[in-house]
C-alpha cells in the first residue's frame, strides 16, 4: 500500500463492471430502500434472539396460544405449545435466509457456468450437456434427498446442497437459451476474430451480458428455495422441531388461520417482506448491470 504502483496510478482508471454497477445501484431509490430493510431484517434475525426473554423452544404454560400482547411479554403471541412466536420467527429467519442465500448461490454458480458453456460451445457438447439436464429433471427428487440423508446423516448443509442441486437446472436452461442468441452477436464475432480464447469469451463477453436475466431469475429462485425447504420440513426431511423456518412457520400457521391468525400473519409478513426486498434489489441490479443501458 505504501509503494505507489506507477502503472496503475498513472493509467486512466477504467470503470470496471462492478464499480460502475454499484454506483448505478445506489441511484435506484427502490433498491436502496429494499437493501436497507433487508439488512435490518438480517441484523434483527442475527441479534434479535439475544434480546427476546423467551427461548425458541421454551413453553410458557400460563400463556398457551395467546394473541399478541404487551402485558405477557409475547409481542407476537404464542403458538399452541406456548412458545413465543417472535423468538420463533427470528430463529426461523436465520434458517430461511441462510437456505435462500446458500442454495441460490449454489444454483447460480453451477447454472451460469454449465449453461454458458453448453450454449457457447454448442454442437455435440451442448447436446450431451442438455440431455444430462433432462435426465436430472426427471429424477425423483424425494429419493435423492432420502439417499443423501442415508449416506451423510441428517444435517442442514445437506438440505442446502440438495435444494441447490435441483435448482440449477432451470438456471442452466435459461442461461443456455440466452447464450445461443448472444453468441451470434457482432461483439462476440469480433472477440472471436481477435483470437480471444473460448473461456475468456465466455467469462468476459457472454456472462456479463447474461446477468440481467440471471439476476431476475435469482430473485425468483430465492422464494422457491425457501418454500422447497418448508416442503422438505413438512415431509420430515428438512429442519426438525423444535427448530423452525419461515416456511415451516407459515405452513403451521396456515393450518390454524381461522382460530389463531397471528400464527400465520407474522411469519408470512416477514417472509413476504423479504421476498419483495429481494425483488426490488434484483430489479435495481438488473438495471445497474445492463451493459447497454448507460
Amino acid at each position: 500500500m505504501a509503494a505507489v504502483n506507477p502503472v496503475s496510478s498513472s493509467a486512466v482508471e477504467g470503470r470496471s463492471l462492478w464499480v460502475d454497477a454499484r454506483r448505478r445501484l445506489m441511484r435506484n431509490r427502490a433498491a436502496v430502500v429494499a437493501s436497507v430493510i433487508l439488512i435490518s431484517m438480517t441484523l434483527a434475525v442475527i441479534v434479535g434472539p439475544w434480546l427476546v426473554p423467551f427461548d425458541y423452544d421454551f413453553t410458557d404454560w400460563s400463556n398457551i396460544a395467546v394473541p399478541p400482547d404487551l402485558a405477557s411479554g409475547h409481542l407476537f403471541g404464542t403458538d399452541s405449545l406456548g412458545r413465543d412466536l417472535l423468538m420463533r420467527t427470528l430463529y426461523g429467519g436465520r434458517i430461511s435466509l441462510l437456505v435462500g442465500l446458500v442454495a441460490t448461490l449454489v444454483s447460480l454458480l453451477i447454472g451460469i457456468a454449465y449453461g454458458a458453456i453448453a450454449g457457447y460451445v454448442g454442437g455435440r457438447v451442448d447436446h450431451l450437456m442438455m440431455r444430462i439436464v433432462d435426465i436430472l429433471y426427471a429424477m425423483p427428487f424425494m429419493f435423492f434427498v432420502i439417499l443423501l440423508m442415508v449416506l451423510f446423516g441428517r444435517n442442514i448443509v445437506l438440505i442446502f446442497v440438495a435444494i441447490g442441486a435441483i435448482n440449477w437446472l432451470d438456471m442452466a436452461r435459461i442461461v443456455r437459451g440466452q447464450t445461443l442468441s448472444l453468441k451470434r452477436k457482432e461483439f462476440i464475432e469480433a472477440a472471436e476474430a481477435l483470437g480471444t480464447p473460448t473461456l475468456a469469451i465466455i467469462r468476459r463477453h457472454i456472462v456479463p451480458n447474461l446477468l440481467g436475466v440471471v439476476v431476475v431469475y435469482v430473485t425468483l429462485t430465492i422464494p422457491q428455495v425457501i418454500l422447497v425447504e418448508s416442503f422438505l420440513s413438512f415431509l420430515g426431511l428438512g429442519v426438525q422441531e423444535p427448530m423452525t423456518s419461515w416456511g415451516a412457520l407459515v405452513n403451521d400457521g396456515a393450518q390454524e388461520m381461522e382460530s389463531a391468525p397471528w400464527l400465520l400473519i407474522f411469519p408470512a409478513v416477514f417472509l413476504a417482506a423479504t421476498l419483495f426486498c429481494f425483488n426490488f434489489i434484483g430489479d435495481g441490479l438488473r438495471d445497474a448491470l445492463d451493459p447497454k443501458d448507460r
Binding site: 429433471y137 425423483p140 443456455r176 442468441s181 440481467g212 421476498l275 430489479d283 445492463d290
Partner: protein, 306 residues
Amino acid sequence: MLKFALKRFLGAWPTLLIMIAIAFFMIRVAPGGPFDSERKLPPEIEARMLQAYHLDEPLYQQFGRYLAGLLKGDFGPSFQYKEYSVSELVMAGFPVSLRLGGLAMLLALVVGVSAGTIAALRQNTRTDYAVMAVSMTGISIPNFVMAPLLILFFAVFLGWLPAGGLGDGSAANLVLPVISLALPQIAYISRLTRGSMIEVLHSNFIRTARAKGLPERLVILRHAIKPALLPVVSYLGPATAAIITGSVVIEQIFGVPGLGRFFVQGALNRDYTLVLGVVIFYGVLIIVFNFFVDMIYALLDPRVKY
C-alpha cells in the same frame, strides 16, 4: 432443421434409458420397502409377497424384467393400489391434471406476458412497481396459504364458487384451482418478461424501428416481443411439464384427483413401480417440451442456429 429434429429424436432414446436406469436403482438403494408397515408381516407371507412381485430376484434381473415390460407398454402393477396397474392410475389422473395445468399455464402466459410488458414499458414508475408487486404475491405468499384464502373469500364468504372437488366438471369448479396454480407462474413469467423486455427495448433494432416512425404498438408486437420471450420460453419447457403433471398441494386442498399426489405418495410408500411410472411419464414430457423449446428459440430469434 429437419436434421436437427431427427438427431434429437434419436438422442431421446438413450436419454430415456439412462433416466429409467438411474431412477430404478436410486429408488431401490433407498432404505425401506413397499411392504414395510407398522405391523410386521409374518416372514413367510412377506416372502410370498416379494416373490409375487419378483422382488426377491437380483436387482439386474428385475431391471431386465421391468424394461422388457416397458417395451410391451406394461408399467407393472402398483404395490399400494393393488387392484390397479400403474398405467391405469396414470391415465386416470393425467386428464385431470392436464386440464387444470394447461388452463393455468395459458392464463399465466397471457397475464404474465402482458403484465411484464406493461411494467417494462413504464420502467421504474409507479405503474411498474404496482404491477410487479401484485404479480409477486404469487410467490411471496405460498400456494398452501393462497389457496385456502381464495376458498375462504370466494367460496365461503361470497359463495360464488364451489370450495373444492370437480363436481360435474363444470367451469365453476375449475376456477379456483386454476387460479391458485397460475399465480406463482404469473410471477415467474411476468418477471422474466419484464427483465428481458427492458433489455430488448434498448437494442439498436428497436431504436431503428422507432426512428422510422413505426407506431409504438407495432414496435412492441412486431419487433420487441419475440426476442423478449426467449427466457420465458426457456422457463416454460420444464414448467409446463411440471404443471400438467399436477401439484400435490393444490390437489389436496381442492380435493382434485390428479397426478401430483402419486409423486409424493409413491415415494413415501416406496411404491416402486408407481414412482418409476410417473418418473418416466414426466421424463418423456421434459424431453419433448425441451425439444419444442429449442425449436421455438430458432423461430423467435433468427440468430439462433444449431
